[in-house]
Symmetry: C2
């Protein structure tokens, strides 16, 4: 057995980006640092990163403090390791529940190696028949977000007409399948950014998926929601959310999951022409954060594995975008999220 590493490279936050994060130059957002790995205490393991989850919300964490209460997750400060969920393999262990070789889901961040306590790790089955990275996507926190957003936050039911934005993305593509195939909603309308993505979303079960870059998008969406929708599952915010205030029936429900259209311009105000409809149409807007439901992850993995067996949920190569990347390329892969370059969950496969 080779000797264990005693230090690790990690990507740290170099400065808060004002708008779009920069990969290079004197004002680069991130920087590489080499840090020593602490000796393991009882109950701890040493882990090697194998797959990294790429999440739009991470853009919010690096924005810098604002003068308002933040009880979400603490911001990533300058000099901190960049935070991310990842799958990693135990290569050294003083934790009974984490023998060497175990693969775990943990918040390993953008690092080659890290240490963690066993209560910070969720062991992942390696014999399930599903490729590991799906445990960062449909069979992981992404699936949890889509499932609990629809089932608990807006209580979607069979009678409901559901609109999903960011429908080709990780959460959106899962939400489409949960709505149509697991809950059995009457009609599911996706919104995505290219015609190819729209066909992908329709392949997942959406009755129709509309390209928001089309010049006829708003007419198309009005037609698709001719009888008005019951639920809007929103990952995008901005103008699409604003328009949807006009396309929900009385008492319509909005699951506010994300606001990716704004993440690179958080200092700009969110402006809505139709916010008054929230009153006149008696809308219910529910912000939610999946962290509140992490204890339900094992349950949702079970539900999704069953659904996948029955062909209701796709857990395959097309339902994720897996990008092999060297350590140096980690930030660039993450930025693809904001370039509309992923279909399904965007996962970095860290090359050694």
């Amino acid at each position: 057995m080779a000797s264990l590493p005693t230090e690790s490279r990690q990507w740290q936050l170099a400065r808060h980006p004002a708008t779009y994060p920069k990969l290079e130059g004197s004002d680069a957002t991130f920087e590489i640092a080499k840090v020593p790995l602490p000796a393991l205490n009882e109950g701890e393991a040493l882990l090697r990163t194998i797959f990294i989850s790429n999440d739009p919300a991470a853009r919010v964490w690096i924005t810098g403090e604002k003068a308002k209460p933040r009880e979400y997750v603490p911001p990533v400060k300058i000099g901190d390791k960049m935070r991310a969920r990842s799958l990693s393999r135990v290569i050294g262990s003083k934790a009974r529940k984490l023998p060497v070789g175990t693969v775990v889901l943990a918040s390993g961040g953008w690092a080659e190696y890290f240490t963690a306590r066993e209560d910070e790790c969720i062991a992942i089955p390696q014999d399930s028949g599903y490729d590991l990275p799906h445990y960062l996507g449909t069979l992981g926190v992404t699936g949890l977000t889509a499932y609990y957003g629809l089932v608990e936050i807006v209580e979607a039911a069979r009678d409901d007409v559901v609109v999903v934005s960011g429908a080709a993305g990780a959460t959106g593509s899962t939400a489409v399948q949960v709505a149509k195939k697991i809950i059995g909603c009457k009609k599911v309308i996706g919104i995505a950014g290219t015609d190819d993505k729209c066909r992908f979303v329709e392949g997942l079960g959406a009755d129709v998926c509309l390209n928001y870059k089309s010049p006829t998008f708003y007419e198309d969406l009005s037609r698709a929601t001719e009888d008005l929708a019951d639920i809007f599952f929103d990952n995008v915010g901005g103008d699409i959310l604003d328009f949807m205030f006009t396309r929900l029936r009385q008492g319509g429900r909005i699951a506010l999951c994300g606001s990716v259209s704004r993440y690179n311009n958080l200092s700009e105000k969110a402006s809505f022409a139709n916010f008054d409809n929230v009153i006149t149409q008696r809308l219910k807007i529910n912000g939610f954060v999946v962290l509140d439901y992490l204890h339900k992850l094992p349950t949702v993995i079970q539900i999704f594995q069953e659904a996948a067996k029955e062909g209701k949920i796709r857990v395959d190569d097309d339902s994720q975008t897996l990008v092999p990347a060297k350590f140096e390329e980690i930030p660039g892969v993450w930025l693809r999220l904001f370039e509309g370059r992923n279909q399904g969950k965007l996962v970095t496969k860290l090359l050694v």
Copy 2:
């Protein structure tokens, strides 16, 4: 008995105001017309207006159509009688339940006389010991709005810290009393527009009331909500709503009752610097319209009469602003709503 009138003067919408309604000149918003009163059919009554309710929402009804679904109440069209709830006295009747002399709550509008079917009228007790105009305010739809907004829409409970905007206004002043005296909420914070109004609101039971025109308002509100609030009952919208997105604890609830700060500028977008907090703080925004609860009016009148007897709710001269006015002055009295000139419910007493 004098012969019954066969025609009535009424205020009609002359044109949609772009911003602030105009009382006079060639672009006046309203105009007086004389209309014949139809002969009574079986089940109908002829009514003489005695008190008119003044409501901010009426500003929305005269805005003109926008390209969005409106299922609230139909807009008032050009040439239509201006809509308003009023108390009126039956002066002619072919309705068994409405003998001459009965006082009713109905949607009589800005008219001296009108006819209505008996199912459009709610008879008001004349021997309750309360002055009649209170049945347009605390003992009427205003009270219903405050009560059901807090009790049903955001399920306020004793443990909750509640912030109420427009707290010296009709709905706000009642909401403050419902929260503090009927529900018994832990802390009630009012927001109003003058120091005098703030003292009035504190007299109603608010733990503190803050003047939003004070240069230290936002600091004051931050201090008053140091431990963050659970509920925001909002009548105002705009910058105060925006700031409150930062002053609610995780899972905080907003009852979106009105948006009076915007009613004269509805074509401007609603802009929020802190809308992202709806996600990060898992806020629940609930738009509501009291019309959905009109069937509960008798119940709430009962609750409020009981509460008034126990000294929990003020139903007196100070809890309303009663303005005697000639027919010609009706629009001008209504506009006081937008000038911050009323305390409690603003009621027009129509002089004959």
